[in-house]
Amino acid sequence: MTAIEFRDVSLSFGRREIFRHATLNLRGGRVIGVVGANGAGKSTLLKLAGKIIAPDAGTVALPEGLTIGAVTPEMKLYGALTGAENLAFFARLRGKVLSPEKIFELGRRVGLEAQAFDVLAENFSTGMRQRLKFAVLLAVDADIWLLDEPTANLDDDGREKFFTEIRDAAPDKIILLATNDATEVGICDEVIRLPL
């Protein structure tokens, strides 16, 4: 299975050093948890892995041609689009056309009712938005999943649906899960503790 390789990676924000000559091999086919205190660099590690930010020194090597998807607090969906329009838009960006049946199926998998897809996303509750973000991730069928506290704001049903999907998808994906939640850590096959 493919892997994301951190080779001698260093990164600082101002005087705050997050990584210093870090070398990591994040293998696919399993759920990799990233845990650590606030400010330890969990979200930063995910951004580096997704090439959303670049390190000050060293390299992050991603397998050629793999696509990235994310559920993170700072990544928002379009409030002026309905749930279905958001799904269709992001799927289209990855060359996928979603039928109404597929949208309904995605909704079922993340626990969004069919009528929610006709409502503007700005009228969604926080938990519904989180479910919609996850539905987008499933719709685009990304190879690398970057999950930053993905079940925050979710009820028990939402959390269970998340965990089921993550476990089912794990064999074919590279999944990084930044969290401090004991239940989320519980579904991980491997845990990286920060600081390294």
């Binding site: 990544m75 928002k76 969906l77 689009l81 992001f90 289209r92 960006l93």
Partner: protein, 220 residues
Amino acid sequence: MKSFVCRCEQVVAIVRKDFVVSLRRRAALAAMMMFALTATAALSLSTSGVVEPKILSALLWVIIFFAAGAGVAGTFDDEAQAGTLPTLKLYADAQAVLFGKMIHVLASLISLTVFIVPTFLILFDADVADGLLMVATLLLGLIGLSAAGTLTAALTTSAVAKGGLFPILLFPVTLPIFLPAISLTEAALTGAAFDGGSLVMMMMFDAMLVTAASILYDYL
């Protein structure tokens, strides 16, 4: 080839999404239209509608420039404020984002021009002697303004004083478009002979701006 087709599909998706969002939000388009209408009405009333064709041409482009600034400046910033820009950048190719935004800006400016040019001509009691030249000049000017405006909007997204910075950065970049555009607009209004070289110069500068925007956007 497949990559190019994918990018084109992404561009189309982004343009469509921006149209839906702008129709539902209307703020940027309304800001452009209101600025253009207010400026045109104020200038027409203060000059009693009697202005030399040269000045009239310059006034038209000044109105288009500042009206565009009112709407185009938020092209990327609105997404950054809403938190959707990181999501868009993650799922779409950077060039597709740039060209999707650029085409949407161009379409918005064409809508603005279709609205403001007839209003301008009526309020200043002016006629167009050469309609084809007028349309060609406006289109070439708007293409350049869209390319430069989109890149400038991307550049100023993270700036603190983006409102003031946007026209300051945009003006020198678009000046080589405006100077021939003003001359050609004057010729279109009066029916006088025009310099074909000015049209070629506008085309070349448009191509330069689009290419430069494409190259520079990858570094933002």
